[in-house]
Symmetry: C2
Subunit: 121 residues, 2 copies
DNA sequence: CACCGATACAACGATACGGTTGTACGAGCG
DNA sequence: CGCTCGTACAACCGTATCGTTGTATCGGTG
């Protein structure tokens, strides 16, 4: 399954806020309603509610009715999708290191032909 | 080196843009100046320059003089720092699953396909 | 049913962001 | 030495975001 590039935007944007990351962390192990969540932060209830909405739009959390509350639960899948992208970058990096090693190995053997076409403008 | 929570903000914020992620990807394997980078995107040079500045502030890339250009190179370390945070979340998740398994084992009877609705406080 | 606990949502202001164009500077090439 | 390539940076516009307060809604509990 291929994830389109633009899907990452809201996920990383959601993670780019300290408070929202903390909500994600809490919602992994706790079962808190929004009012309970808000009690942890020095901001109004409405702001926390908005942060939760951002996280929900990004797919990082889901809300579920429990009694009269709506408990917030983080969705690991979205976190893994983000991590997979970072893994891809790391793989690219390692592949690049591999290519560099090859180049060095080639030079060690044959000093003659230089294949690196560097455009010197 | 201690990483404070607020250090993640610029990293994730920088990764929250499609173009910037692509610059990161390119700068892993290529050695391009900003003008060359800009040629890949349907926006003005100045915007790409700003994107590069955002990435540089986040520590995701570095610039190095090569000839009259400044080539952009991605800094794997920053990517790994971001990934480590996601790993921590996953670890928390797994720990939580473990705790839930314990609970289910104690109850020994409920079918696990549905979410365990509990507590009405 | 009435009330209240918990959440949703709208309006508003300050600030940041993604994009534009235009100008200025520094350093190599000819 | 001068030109121009590559980059930096400022001013500006529209829109999104983070924060506020106030009001509406929905569902349980008494």
């Amino acid at each position: 399954m291929q994830i389109t590039a633009s899907d990452f935007d809201p996920v990383f944007a959601a993670l780019a806020d300290h408070t929202r990351r903390d909500i994600v962390r809490r919602a992994i192990s706790a079962e808190e309603g929004i009012l309970e969540l808000a009690s942890h932060y020095p901001m109004s209830f409405a702001v926390v509610q908005k942060h939760v909405a951002v996280l929900e739009r990004a797919g990082l959390i889901t809300k579920h009715r429990v009694g009269r509350r709506r408990v917030v639960r983080t969705n690991l899948e979205a976190l893994l999708i983000a991590r997979r992208l970072l893994d891809q970058y790391e793989a690219l990096w390692l592949a690049q290191i591999g290519r560099m090693d090859e180049l060095i190995a080639e030079r060690a053997g044959a000093v003659g032909t230089v294949e690196t076409k560097e455009s010197k403008r």
